[in-house]
């Protein structure tokens, strides 16, 4: 007991000493300048966002509060436009579509490293006998880093490094996507080789942008394999537009929270209630009799967040249900997971 107390006193003393050392960490004079620079950068960008609007609206001499309100609307509209533009690019697969207006709108989203385009990097197409494959391989392109702040470009070693890091992780992300697509192509080729020219086989894979916000890009690759029956599968990539990295489910949730249990339980509840309501619906839920049914989500579970903050969990065909159910999605209402998300991370 008394030994313990001694230790605590000793701790406190040592901590006091450390605090003194901590307080003595020299703050370079540059620190204040850099804070000001950060503030200035933000302000300049905000001004830039306002410019086109100020030009159109000559009556902008109104009260400041009003002005602020209008600006907000403008920003939202602009973002919506940027998203629409990005989707358009995907659907047509054209890179330079829409000319400068579109590119301009995309590049003005104020993010440091910006993912702006998803393009079909290559298509794999083949028809041999009754075998056919059409596999689109998407890749993410970085927007041209526009000289958004010319005045700030000098001496920005830090930003340059950050840019390099961003490119590196974007490369990794693209590699992961490419590898997944390549695995589909490999599967097709080996199945074809094994077929001796017999049988019917169709493998089609395309991709879509499920969602795009300022911060996230959700890219989903949908694959349909038809042999005797069909098999639907998909792979969803949640990409952090700022770092270029692929985010797994655990990125969004607090480390100590039991999010996996909460989500899994909710899925099971939904499975049970659907089965109860409709006798044609069947899911595999793990139990003593059915040991390979669904038990718990993992960090590799496919997911994305919907615009309203609901979490969508997606399973491939056969993964949690018999084939006739196809691929299935479950929506976990946002209020079920609200308390488990990392508070500083916004999913919308």
């Amino acid at each position: 007991m008394s030994e313990n107390r001694e230790k605590i006193t000793y701790d406190t003393q040592k901590l006091q000493e450390w605090k003194a050392e901590y307080d003595k960490i020299t703050v370079p004079g540059e620190a204040l300048e850099r804070v000001k620079k950060g503030i200035q950068m933000a302000e300049q960008e905000t001004e830039k966002e306002q410019e086109p609007k100020a030009g159109k609206r000559k009556d902008a001499a109104g009260a400041d509060i009003m002005k602020e309100k209008r600006n907000k609307t403008y920003v939202i509209l602009k973002r919506a436009f940027a998203t629409a533009a990005a989707i358009l690019l995907v659907i047509t697969g054209a890179v330079n579509l829409g000319g400068s207006t579109v590119a301009h709108a995309i590049e003005r989203i104020p993010v440091i490293g910006t993912i702006a385009k998803v393009v079909t990097f290559r298509s794999y197409e083949d028809t041999t006998n009754h075998f056919e494959a059409d596999i689109k391989v998407p890749q993410i392109e970085e927007s041209v880093h526009e000289t958004q702040n010319e005045s700030q470009n000098e001496g920005k070693q830090g930003e340059k490094e950050e840019q390099e890091l961003f490119q590196k992780s974007l490369e990794n992300t693209n590699k992961t996507i490419e590898e997944y697509a390549q695995s589909l192509i490999d599967m097709y080729e080996s199945d074809l080789a094994a077929s001796n020219g017999e049988g019917n086989y169709s493998l089609k894979s395309d991709y879509e942008i499920v969602r795009e916000t300022d911060k996230y890009l959700v890219l989903r690759i949908n694959t349909l394999l038809v042999m005797a029956g069909g098999a639907q599968s998909s792979r969803i990539f949640n990409i952090d537009k700022i770092t270029g990295e692929i985010l797994k489910l655990d990125y969004f949730f607090q480390e100590d929270s039991n999010y996996a249990d909460v989500i899994s339980d909710n899925i099971k509840e939904q499975m049970l209630s659907q089965m109860e309501k409709d006798e044609n619906v069947t899911y595999f839920i793990q139990s003593d009799e059915e040991e390979w049914g669904f038990d718990k989500i993992t960090d590799d579970t496919q997911f994305y967040f919907a615009d309203n903050g609901d979490l969508v969990i997606s399973f491939d065909e056969y993964e949690v249900a018999p084939g006739f159910m196809g691929a299935v999605d479950f929506t976990i209402p946002r209020d079920k997971i609200a308390g488990l998300l990392k508070p500083d991370i916004s999913v919308s």
């Binding site: 701790d11 307080d23 204040l32 850099r34 950060g38 950068m41 933000a42 950050e162 100590d256």
Partner: protein, 161 residues
């Protein structure tokens, strides 16, 4: 609100710098973090609804920006994966040779944040928890874990001199 945040940034920048420094342990990165945090704060000032929350919020931005930078650095040097990603730059940084840095290096990022905020910035446990985004009990148990680790450093002090 925007003005209040700007004022807070200009008033407390030394604190933010020190916190950033305690993560990255070199001047250049700490300066980058301070700038980036100021930028982020100004861009998102609409998110703050109450004045009382500004301080907590700013610390949180600094903490997250620091962690992001560390995370990215770690990922880059993944091939040389060692428990502490990089040794502090030799000599050039005065702080790196300090006892307190040896000690903080023994802690993971979360523990470091909690110790720094609780003891060096004299915050209440509740406020620390608000910054780290965890509940008070979790924060408390992390703090104890950190203190246990630190005690090991204290006791084996000679080794680190």
């Amino acid at each position: 609100m925007k003005e209040l945040i700007e004022n807070a940034l200009l008033k407390n920048y030394e604190k933010y710098y020190r916190l950033a420094y305690s993560y990255v342990e070199n001047e250049a990165d700490a300066l980058d973090i301070v700038q980036e945090s100021a930028y982020k704060a100004m861009k998102r000032c609409e998110n703050v609804k109450e004045e009382a929350y500004i301080e907590t919020w700013l610390y949180r931005i600094v903490m997250n920006t620091s962690c992001d930078l560390l995370r990215r650095k770690k990922r880059l040097s993944e091939c040389t994966y060692d428990e502490q990603a990089e040794p502090p730059a030799a000599g050039s940084d005065i702080g790196a040779s300090l006892d307190v840095h040896n000690a903080l290096q023994k802690l993971d990022e979360r523990e470091r944040t909690i110790v720094v905020l609780r003891y060096f910035e004299d915050m209440k446990l509740e406020q620390v928890a608000a910054i780290t985004g965890e509940n008070v009990n979790t924060t408390k148990s992390r703090l104890y874990r950190a203190l246990r680790k630190l005690r090991a450093v204290m006791e084996g002090e000679g080794v680190y001199e």
